[in-house]
Symmetry: C2
Subunit: 283 residues, 2 copies
């Protein structure tokens, strides 16, 4: 293992890894592609160090409220690729999309009809739907986690001085698989561009915008967990999502209403929106 | 850019990057290899998240005294590959090897003959050599940075309670290109295995040991900067260096002596070592 030329070096590194069969499979492929990348572009020492520095800063900006490595994976299309690899479902099932960096464990519990917005700035939006199986039968008691940005394009966790959740919560489908809640109308927003991922986008002359969407994570016994978004129809960024997450059948219709009666019987004295989207789970 | 299949996704991500020609070349190759890796191993969502978590923890353990991303690059053989790509030198020149994670900017200045050990535990070792050009002519006034581990296998920066440098410093070659200093005999040591890189080695059933060595960084006007080690002959880990850094012609002869006169005329009352190694710079 002395005096290794480039190709011998790759083989020596691969040969050095043992461990479980799966670990070795992953390590071998990772080393082979990592070395092929460096050789292919003839990576300079300055570029190598810029990469070390980039990863270091990505780690340092990451905390329990900001996950810059997930954001990096998102803008490199890796997240969506992994979603695709792992969620090959029957065409009737609702498709998955990226998890994103803003999910928080332990969101507050709500009942159907509650306001998950909880004071988030934005136009009121009534969202409803049913959780169904592939045959259209209701899935009761599904755990539905919802999180979204407000009308300024920020998630609650992006406000340094906000210490309670807003536009975030979980509820359960009723006996008919129905769920309904109030929140705010989502808007298109830029992914956080003040960190290393923002630098990467700037260097690549790429935009940071994501089309308006609401995140859903739906778990029910006997079904695959569904992690997805509902995108807002008509959004100008549906074809240039910074994280490549749009699927046509994940686009929901957001309907605008003048003040008056809302679908849940409440009387609204301001304009509001409604959106109805059914979630179809694969077994 | 909706409903992308895996291959379309890779092409869409590549197409999204613009910027400078060099940036685009690197981004394209990186995305292509990253996606090919994930597809090849059919990376699961759990494995993807384990990777996110691994990188996050690697970032969090990195600070101004510990560079876990360089250590990661080292054990994956990437550092040595980049050294090879960027340091194709005439065969007469001293070869380069990995920089490692323990270099510190602004090491203390010494004169020839001084003790760089500065209290580091270990058997005294007198090191000397000449800085030469490819024709064997002396290179005077070369800036020689030296850093090494002590007999317990630790660099100064690995001691949480040590606030001054030890086994680390810089000096200059004299008019004849000569340099000489005291330090301690280096020993084989494990790279830090209490972090994410240690977990990676354990998962791969790999050892963490590096053969005994002293780091040198040599800068002189009109010459390429040389970043290298001198390895100790006879070390049992010369053929299994955890970071793949050994080159046969970087192995120096460390000679053991009973108490008595040292090469610089000093009288030693304990056993000591000597090592002589010439550094040949490429223009």
């Amino acid at each position: 293992m002395r005096n290794l030329t480039d190709t011998d070096l790759t083989e020596a590194v691969i040969a050095s890894f043992n461990g479980s069969e799966r670990f070795k499979e992953i390590a071998d492929s990772l080393v082979r592609h990592l070395h092929a990348f460096a050789s292919e572009v003839q990576l300079t020492e300055e570029e190598w160090f810029a990469g070390i520095d980039f990863l270091t800063r990505t780690g340092h900006i990451t905390d329990d409220k900001r996950q810059e490595f997930i954001l990096l994976s998102d803008v490199l299309g890796l997240s969506m690729l992994v979603v695709g690899i792992n969620n090959r479902r029957p065409p009737e099932a609702t498709e998955s999309t990226v998890f994103g960096p803003f999910f928080v464990e332990g969101s507050p519990a709500f009942e159907n009809g509650d306001d998950l917005g909880a004071g988030a700035p934005g136009e009121p939006c009534f969202m409803e739907g049913r959780v169904l199986d592939l045959n259209g039968e209701p899935v009761p008691d599904a755990l539905i986690d919802v999180w979204q940005a407000d009308e300024d394009g920020f998630y609650d966790v992006q406000y340094a001085d906000l210490d309670q959740p807003r536009g975030r919560g979980h509820l359960r489908s009723d006996a008919d698989g129905r769920f309904w809640f109030w929140s705010v109308k989502p808007v298109a927003y830029p992914i956080p561009a003040d960190g290393p991922v923002g630098e990467l986008l700037a260097a690549g002359a790429r935009g940071p915008m994501r089309p308006a969407h609401v995140h859903f994570k739906i778990e029910a016994e006997g079904f695959q967990t569904l992690i997805t978004h509902v995108f807002a129809d008509g959004d100008e960024y549906l074809d240039s999502d910074a994280v490549f997450g749009v699927r046509s059948n994940l686009i929901g219709h957001f309907e605008h209403h003048e003040p008056g009666a809302a679908p849940d019987g409440s009387e609204m004295d301001v304009p509001f929106w409604t959106m109805r989207y059914d979630m179809v789970l694969a077994p």
